[in-house]
Amino acid sequence: MTTKPDALDGLIEAAVQALDLPFEPAWQPAIKANLAVTLRQAALVSEFPLPDDTEPAPVFQA
């Protein structure tokens, strides 16, 4: 998974609207930088192949 840098501007704008998130133009660079780092970390995890039946770590017990 790779995220094109310009795509983040669109993602931020859409997420702010769709998810009712607070936003001011002055916050954009820091939010974008943080989102870019988090998505890079997520990509590192996502590209690691895991079997379909791998159970997520938190297991709910009824």
Partner: protein, 464 residues
């Protein structure tokens, strides 16, 4: 035995009070005076519970006068990160917003358990806002300052917990550790810190950060004090759904058993990459003292750190989403911008991180079939300057705030118990992680105690 209550260990204080060579009142008077005179420079405390402390000390002295049995922590002053509920105080969690919360009506479980053992709460401690921090800086309360150099960071987020113990304001404090927030300040302040196994100690009545990663634990200047406090806090608590159904497993009685037969390895690969020379020197000294020659590779540690990063960003954003929508301007901007970004990360990626966590846990547990203990640096470097935004790790300039925990995150990610042991390098100390298998805090504490007896690890006094 005559003691100096400012420099004495918790065990020495309790012993002197039991023996009657000092009183709880004398100890608390001395500690309150030290906080008044020296915390201006350290900024470790956000509240001092003077009245409560004096009443508790008087009760302990009265109990002794009447011939009553005193607990193992009788008269020992302690303080807690201000995300612990303290009856009568709002639980700040380092924030501005929580100052408007009503005062807590009951103490956190761990405070109750330390007080049952005789300890005396003297106050609440500074921390990074909502614990999303490795620096110990706080825009609302100003930064906690490192007692070894007050221009430098304590590390965080349990910054005041590190500064208060290293600065000889209290012999014992409590903090929380989601990604390294006990081990990082222990390293930068040069004291001992214990992050127990995930689920070992109750988190009831503390302000959360990332529920699936949050741990609580003690800081002290000796390994014996860590064990003393840890033993007093163990045991199941139905008020914390994560707290394990395990009886207390006291560690202190066998802490001097030595380490014969223990297989100890040093983490290689990821855990050496990016480490400054002082971090590697500290690691080498500890490994040499333990004759640990084997190097072991913790598989996919970088990915483990990445997964912890993703889970933290998103669970943290979920916790604070409503506050972000209504009070965005009342957050520390650095925390706010990280949380807003976290709210934009798709759930699919979080689920993959949780799946990876299961895989990684299984691989690391396989390592513990071969070894009993793994050594790793606690931080990549000694304390950076307060306000320092970036540092260079392995030739790459990176933000300090997010990267002081690169070596702690892959370990807490799967809840392993760790004792951070300080190596008293000059001019600044730095710690090494003693990592054990789940539920084997006793092993990590025994190794730490062995190192302490050799003198390789110790909590240096900043005034010496």
């Amino acid at each position: 035995m005559t003691i100096n209550p400012i420099t004495a260990s918790a065990a020495e204080i309790a012993g002197a009070i039991r023996a009657g060579t000092t009183s709880a009142r004398e100890v608390i008077d001395a500690v309150l005076a030290a906080i008044r005179s020296r915390d201006k420079a350290l900024n470790a405390f956000t509240a001092v519970t003077e009245e409560r402390a004096r009443a508790k000390a008087a009760a302990i002295d009265a109990q002794r006068a009447q011939g009553g049995a005193l607990g193992p922590l009788a008269g020992v002053p302690f303080a807690v990160k201000n995300l612990f509920d303290v009856a009568g105080l709002p639980t700040l969690a380092g924030s501005k917003i929580n100052r408007e919360h009503p005062a807590a009506t009951r103490d956190a479980t761990l405070i109750e358990r330390l007080e049952v053992a005789g300890a005396v709460l003297v106050g609440a401690l500074n921390m990074g806002e909502y614990a999303y921090d490795f620096t110990g800086e706080n825009v609302h309360d100003r930064p906690s300052r490192n007692p070894h150099d007050t221009l430098r960071m304590t590390g965080g987020s349990s910054g005041g917990s590190g500064g208060a113990v290293a600065g000889r304001l209290v012999p014992l404090s409590l903090g929380s550790d989601t990604n390294g927030s006990i081990r990082v300040p222990a390293s930068l302040c040069g004291i001992f810190g214990l992050k127990p196994t995930y689920g070992r100690l109750s988190r009831a009545r503390t302000f959360p950060f990332v529920a699936s990663l949050d741990h609580l634990g003690p800081f002290a200047r000796t390994v014996g004090d860590l064990a003393l406090a840890y033993d007093a806090m163990q045991g199941h608590d139905p008020d914390d759904p994560v707290c394990a159904q395990k009886p207390a497993e006291p560690t202190l009685p066998r802490i001097d058993d030595g380490i014969d037969g223990l297989k100890i390895a040093v983490a290689g690969g990821y855990f050496r990459k990016g480490a400054a020379p002082e971090a590697l020197t500290a690691l080498e000294r500890v490994a040499t003292a333990l004759t640990a020659k084997r190097e072991i590779e913790i598989p996919e540690a970088a990915r483990a750190r990445a997964a912890a990063y993703v889970i933290t960003a998103t669970e943290g954003a979920a916790l604070h989403l409503d506050r972000l929508r209504t009070r965005a301007h009342d957050f520390d901007p650095a925390v706010r911008d990280r949380l807003i970004a976290g709210a934009m990360v798709p759930a699919t990626l979080v689920n993959k991180a949780q799946k990876f966590r299961r895989w990684y846990r299984a691989r690391v547990l396989e390592l513990f079939a071969e070894v009993d203990v793994i050594l790793a640096p606690a931080t990549p470097c000694t304390a950076p300057l307060i306000g320092q935004q970036t540092f260079v790790l392995d030739g790459v300039e990176l933000p300090v705030r997010a990267n002081l925990g690169i070596y702690t995150q892959p370990i807490s990610f799967i809840g392993l118990p760790v004792v951070a042991v300080p190596v008293p390098l000059k001019p600044l100390p730095i710690a090494v992680q003693i990592i054990a298998a789940p539920w084997r805090e006793d092993v990590a504490l025994k190794v730490a105690r062995t190192l302490e007896r050799t003198g390789v690890v110790a909590a240096p006094n900043p005034s010496e």
